[in-house]
């Protein structure tokens, strides 16, 4: 697959004036690598943390997951901070001409957000610990400290994307391809952390609320990153990265033995419990890429009106029947992982293989679905604007 073909001619380094060429990127600085490793470490830590909660229980703050997340956040935050300090002090040697000036300091625009995100992540730690000790249970994800943690992590990822977007534009051939792939990887990771809450669990997949939740948050990020990457299959690759990470966790985590450390125990857990099978986002991602190419010359609103609903309906077409399969005993194997239940899951409370019915009437279902379609138009439009902005990022 050739990436360079999908780049517009205006982004070639040779066509730039001298001042820009002098600020051109010739290699990927270690601070970006540090940031990317931080992003991946944080992602790994959070996947591990989730599994730890489900398999072992949060018996102390410094679990491997929490530690990895903390290290990842600190790595990215420090890398961003170092880049800013170095650029501010070193001047043109570090491409000051191609830097953003914020609060009197110089640096790649994205590095500022990365530094802020790292600070926010670390700042959330003592409050997260307090919250767990105060209100517990570790099953609650939606808490103010978790919000700050997620916001910080998200800031790191958005900052990294903006930082990379600036490099894509200033990179020579060859280097540019690598930067694009880094951009797509960070984008795929970010998809894991979209606030879908409990609306996209397996039990919710036959509710309209599931598709409304997806419509409200996924297109904006997937379209923005797919488009911002300048890769012709950007949305598809972002979705594939997301699915690949989740599938890897579903397949690898159960290979590690584990036993609950906190009682009461409701399920006989003998190994790490992974999260659920990923949403089939690669299908709407592929549809979005196809349609965006066909509609390239049309206005953003036309693109949004077509791509948004197609995205939701494309997901609906595959996820709805797939959910039936995920509920069936045939999926309770290592490939689909629906037989894994966390140690705290009390079967007396509800059947994990029965769909929820959030909408009580057909009318409510239709209305919620209509809201999902409308929302998808708006979020796709936002994603297009954001993606186009990232295509213009120069510093």
């Amino acid at each position: 697959m050739s990436i360079t073909k999908s780049f517009s001619a205006e982004s070639s380094v040779e066509s730039r004036p001298l001042a820009f060429v002098s600020a051109g990127a010739v290699s990927i600085p270690w601070t970006i690598w540090f940031t990317i490793v931080g992003v991946i470490a944080t992602m790994t830590g959070s996947v591990l943390d989730l599994s730890w909660h489900m398999s072992i229980g949060r018996d102390e703050f410094w679990t491997p997951g929490h530690t990895t997340m903390g290290v990842g956040g600190a790595m990215a935050g420090l890398a961003g901070l170092y880049e800013i300090l170095a650029t501010t002090r070193a001047g043109a040697f570090r491409g000051r001409d191609a830097s953003a000036r914020i609060l009197g300091a110089h640096g790649p625009g994205g590095a500022f957000l990365v530094a802020w995100g790292g600070t926010a992540m670390l700042a959330s730690s003592p409050f997260d610990d307090w919250w767990h000790n105060a209100y517990g249970l570790d099953l609650n994800f939606i808490t103010p400290p978790h919000m700050l943690l997620t916001l910080g992590y998200f800031a790191i990822m958005i900052g990294a994307m903006v930082w990379l977007a600036g490099m894509i534009d200033r990179s020579r051939e060859g280097l540019r391809e690598r930067v694009v792939w880094l951009f797509l990887i960070v984008s795929g990771v970010s998809l894991l952390f979209m606030p879908l809450l409990n609306f996209t669990t397996r039990r919710s997949m036959h509710t309209a609320a599931c598709y409304l939740a997806v419509a409200l948050v996924i297109p904006s990020l997937m379209i923005a990153t797919g488009r911002g990457s300048r890769h012709k299959w950007g949305c598809t690759i972002v979705a594939a990265v997301y699915m690949g990470i989740v599938l890897t966790s579903v397949w690898l985590l159960p290979l590690f033995p584990a036993q609950p450390k906190i009682g009461p125990v409701y399920q006989n857990v003998t190994h790490m419990i992974p999260g659920q099978f990923p949403l089939l986002l690669i299908v709407p991602g592929f549809i979005a890429d196809l349609l965006l190419r066909r509609l390239e010359s049309r206005s953003s609103w036309i693109k949004a009106v077509v791509v948004g609903p197609a995205f939701v309906l494309g997901l609906l077409a595959v996820q709805w029947p797939f959910a039936d399969f995920l509920m069936s005993p045939a999926s309770r194997n290592w490939i689909f992982g629906t037989g894994y239940l966390p140690y705290y899951f009390d079967l007396a409370r509800y059947d994990p293989y029965q769909f929820k019915a959030l909408e009580k009437t057909t009318g409510a279902f239709v209305l919620t679905m209509a809201a999902a379609l409308v929302a998808s138009i708006l979020t796709t439009r936002f994603g297009l604007a954001w993606g186009d902005w990232m295509r213009k990022v120069r510093r």
Binding site: G57, R101, A134, Y135, L137, T143, L148, Q259, G263, P264
Partner: protein, 507 residues
Amino acid sequence: MTCMRNPLKILLLLVAVLLPGTASAHVGSADIYFEGNAGPYPLFVTVRLPQVVPGVAELQVRSGSPDVHTIKVVLLRLTGPGSNLPSTPDVAQRSKQDPQFFVSDLWFLEYGALQARIEADGSKGKAELSVPIASFPRQAPTMSPWLRGLGLFVLIGLTLGVVPVAGGMARECTVPPGEAPQASHRRYGRIVMAVTLIATAGILYGNKALWNEEAAVYDRNVDLLKPRRVEATLQDGNRLVLRLASPLLLPLAGKGREAVEMKMEEVIPDHGHLMHLFLVGMPGMGRVWHLHPERLQGGAFAKTLPSMPAGQYQIFADIVDKNGFPWTLVGDVKLPQITGTAVAGDDSQWEGSGMSPPFSEATVAQLPDGGRVVWERGGGPLKANVPTSFKFRVEEQDGSPARDLEPYMGMAAHMVVVRSDLSVFAHVHTNGSVPMAALDLAQAGLAAGSSAGTSGAAPAMAHHHHAALPPRFSIPYGVSLPGDYRFFIQIKRSGRVQTAAFDTHVQ
């Protein structure tokens, strides 16, 4: 129940266990004190429950025999799902100074009827013991001043930081290298700053609302698990009817406002009776009745009262729900002169003088039949939160040991502890502060799920049905709060239930 008979062991217990706490699942008394046998090993178990749940409880085990070298503990539900799959056991820390003393930290995440399953390993092999625990939150979590200050600092810093960062990125990032931002860039930057500010304010507001809701749910849970109000009415001149003022709801920790209603129809018998009703004459606690109402259709309880003088009475009513969680219902009632029959069966009454400090701290209390109960309390003052083996002996009128003690509702003795301001009420036995109904459930689970030798405390009661009990008995307990207390000791002699009262000050 035998490990405390040796005075040296009692002394060791009193000296070794000095950490503060409170006591049983009654009123103002949450911690667990329990004496039982894990197979051949007599154990005194104290569970210091956390004030805030989720939280860490401290489980202390004092072995009565020196050959126990390892104690392991797991937390389970008392019944149903979650009652038979163990987590990784917590290996209790053995004291270096006192090798018969072990301490384990246990995370409590849930409310309701739980059990600590204790495995003792020693020279006679492994054996198990289960201790029922009522888990509930008692107070809302608080944040230390330094953490609060840090929170404010972080909040202001991050909020003030993200606005210019977002605005700056919007203003600068798309400016070609080497050029200065144009007016349009600056305008865009200002717009993004404004939007970020509004979004940040929205996030902060949303989080505040989320926090407020979480705190409100927690406060509600604390309230739901406080002693519940019971309303008492008198019918037909001598029939006392008790109804719950509101349903018994057991909230589910971490599940928002979800709660499970405990039906009065599903209350289980606790040493032979569905309800143990204590009517305490106020003021002064000069009279007390221990009665056993019957359940009516619809969940109310009723009791035809014996003869009682008119007056104000405080109500404490102990019940145990189907899961083994003990509830104490509280209320008060003003009664006219009741003309009824004398107390009979397991019902009992006591009349004496009211509490009036300073107390004599008398250690001898007369029984109605001329005998007496002697409290072998030692010389030191009684201290709050100290696990104590309250030792008593029953004597005949001539001072000789009583030889006619019988089990009273299956036990050698019952002790009712009431603080002068009624803020503490506990109904404890020779096994300690756990309800017998919950203990039966724990023992049944242990017998069903374990191959290890076990005995617990229940067998200690059973054999007493056919032989006179020894005149000495001990009751493991720890008074939760300093203050003035009246202890009512109830025993049965020659078919007659008798009560002795002791007044004391607890430091």
